[in-house]
């Protein structure tokens, strides 16, 4: 059976600037796939591109882009709008500005169900109240009649989450859905998503830079750097045996109980994400990489470090610090 979401070599450009230069990933039914990376690496643009929601001037290309077996590369706006919000839903990153200030929370929630399922007002209100309860909002009835400005950032974020779940989507693309939330609420949301996965086989593409969240809920992780997916592996394997120097650097930046010794400084990656000029060839990480060598200036092979583990690097699979140095 084909994957729920299958993306091969996704490219997004704005004018002459490449925001995404090659993102390949798959999300299976019931799977959580985490996309991690620094700010500005193209995670959010990837998410928007998959939903067909790029801002004006954004151009999307891909070798393959299919949802539930259907090629959605050339799907028109009308057909895409039937999928969006119904079978594939999205939670965007900016909870403060992503709700319509002139409309009640209830109206914005119910319209999704009414549009896609032709639900009656009463049915939609029931469903909205139920979901608000499930994302941990007390007094849902009161909240439905309120306007976004009367809600805190955390509440708005949870309204956004409830909104995405209104139609029981098959695929949920969530861009930093829990960043605005307390850890307790965050745990509650993650638990809810896990429940929905178990119940309906929801596939999740979760964009985050919180490796703690990744370790807890991801089945698979893709690491993105400067518009490219540089490494992709099952979660346990990625944490145990990261291949790409960037992934290794990323992992040393986070304290792991039992692994990091007290008093020892955490790692960091020197430099910042570079601007990639058009026509750039080779590894985009080479200027920050301690192991860079001549071959990094040419096309980089996609190497298999395991049956389900790929990395975009010239170093041999299973390399160690000593061997590379």
């Amino acid at each position: 059976m084909s994957a729920l979401l299958d993306v091969r070599n996704l490219r997004v450009t704005f004018g002459g600037t490449a925001a995404v230069r090659g993102a390949s990933l798959t999300v299976e039914k019931g799977e959580t796939h985490c996309l991690v990376g620094e700010s500005g690496c193209g995670k959010s643009v990837t998410a928007l591109a998959l939903m067909g929601l790029l801002a004006r001037g954004g151009k999307r290309e891909a070798d393959a882009l299919s949802f539930a077996g259907q090629d959605i590369r050339n799907l028109g706006e009308r057909d895409m709008s039937r999928l969006r919000g119904d079978r594939m839903a999205m939670i965007v990153q900016e909870p403060m500005t992503s709700l319509n200030p002139a409309d009640t929370v209830g109206s914005q929630l119910t319209e999704v169900l009414r549009r896609h399922r032709g639900a009656s007002r009463a049915q939609a209100v029931d469903r909205a109240a139920e979901l608000l309860g499930r994302v941990g909002i007390t007094a849902p009835g009161l909240r439905l009649g309120q306007y976004p400005h009367q809600l805190s950032g955390g509440l708005r974020q949870r309204v956004m989450i409830a909104m995405a779940l209104m139609c029981d989507p098959e695929l949920l693309i969530a861009d930093e859905p829990t960043t605005a939330l307390d850890v307790t609420v965050q745990a509650q949301i993650l638990r809810l998503l896990a429940e929905l996965q178990a119940e309906f086989g929801l596939g999740i593409l979760l964009i985050t830079h919180d490796l703690g969240v990744v370790a807890r809920i991801a089945d698979r992780v893709s690491v993105m750097y400067a518009g490219e997916v540089v490494e992709s592996a099952p979660t346990a394997e990625l944490f145990a045996a990261p291949q790409h120097p960037y992934t290794r650097g990323l992992l040393t930046c986070v304290p792991v109980p039992g692994k990091v010794k007290r008093g020892e400084p955490l790692g960091s990656i020197p430099g910042v994400v570079p601007r990639i000029p058009p026509g750039f060839v080779g590894c985009s990480f080479r200027d920050r990489c301690a192991y860079a060598h001549a071959a990094c200036k040419h096309d980089i092979p996609r190497q298999h470090a395991g049956p389900d583990h790929e990395a975009l690097c010239t170093l041999p699979p299973g390399w160690t610090d000593r061997a590379a140095a």
């Binding site: 929601l53 919000g85 965007v92 319509n100 549009r115």
Partner: protein, 305 residues
């Protein structure tokens, strides 16, 4: 919300008082009223009698407060020319002007809103450029000239509409069109810029992410937000249009307040001119207050604050 309204109300009353004072001061500044009322052939004695009769020999402050108290009660004295109470004159003319203003505003909204929305949706396309060009031309065109053109074309050549006077509703169409031209450009630009801003906002992206229909995204989400300032400006525009109707009422010989003002200015009929200016100014103030109110009603952030 209540505090907001109360503050606006107080400001409106203060502005109204200022207008009343200015309108009193203006007539006193334009020379000795007794002399201008008496006319060029009057003797010194006549002038003195008139001064006595109209109470113009009393101290200025007494005159001012006396006038103010009466003006507030709607008593603007008697017209020198029409031999009628000024209040009656204005009362009989005001409905014509108000109707004309409302017709003009209605036409302006019906034209400006859809064009503004289309221009925003097709931003920077030839449609957008054409619409903006038409707006520019509309703004640059003198209303009396447009009025005459329409009279010749719709009135005489095509014989569709009456060219002057006030009878049935058809008499208001042509002047309404002319009047609307003064409001269309600004309403359209505001609609366009509001829509462009709304359409690029995060909540529109959310609406698209929800898979809503194009119509629902445009109307329920984008226009609902873009309309807030437009409605307020429309109310203020109506005020402008009522003032601007002086020219149009003259061109189309409609006996409204504007026409009355035009006649009275020519005949040095001070009480009437003063009262017309005052009434139009007060209507303008009331409309501005209404605009604030509408803003508060439409914008939940103001309403519930």
């Amino acid at each position: 919300m209540l505090k907001f309204l109360l503050r606006r109300l107080i400001v409106a009353i203060l502005v109204a008082l200022t207008v009343l004072t200015l309108s009193f001061a203006l007539t006193r500044l334009s020379g000795d009223l007794a002399i201008s009322i008496a006319g060029p052939n009057a003797t010194q004695q006549d002038v003195e009698i008139i001064r006595q009769a109209y109470g113009l020999n009393r101290p200025l402050t007494t005159q001012y407060f006396d006038w103010l108290v009466r003006a507030v009660q709607g008593d603007f004295g008697e017209s020198y020319f029409f031999r009628d109470r000024v209040a009656n004159l204005i009362g009989s003319r005001l409905p014509i002007t108000m109707t004309l203003g409302l017709v003009g505003l209605l036409i302006a909204l019906v034209v400006a809103l859809p064009l503004g929305i289309i221009a925003a949706v097709r931003e920077n396309s030839w449609v957008d450029r054409t619409v903006m060009m038409v707006a520019l031309i509309g703004q640059a065109m003198p209303s009396f000239w447009l009025g005459l053109i329409l009279m010749v074309w719709l009135g005489l050549n095509l014989d569709l509409l009456p060219i002057s006077g006030t009878g049935g509703p058809e008499y208001y169409v042509m002047p309404g069109i002319v009047l609307s031209f003064s409001a269309i450009p600004s309403l359209m630009r505001l609609t366009r810029s509001g829509m462009i801003e709304a359409l690029s906002s995060d909540y529109i992206r959310t609406a698209r992410a929800k898979g809503l229909s194009r119509l629902s995204i445009l109307v329920k989400h984008a226009f609902r937000n873009a309309a807030i300032p437009v409605v307020a400006i429309a109310a203020v525009q109506l005020g402008f249009m009522l003032g601007g109707s002086i020219v149009i009422e003259s061109v189309f010989a409609m006996h409204g307040v504007g026409y009355l003002a035009w006649e009275s200015i020519g005949k040095n009929d001070f009480p009437v001119v003063q009262a017309v200016v005052l009434v139009l100014a007060l209507i303008y103030i009331a409309l501005t207050l209404l605009a604030d109110l509408l803003n508060a009603v439409l914008d939940p952030r103001l309403r519930t604050a």
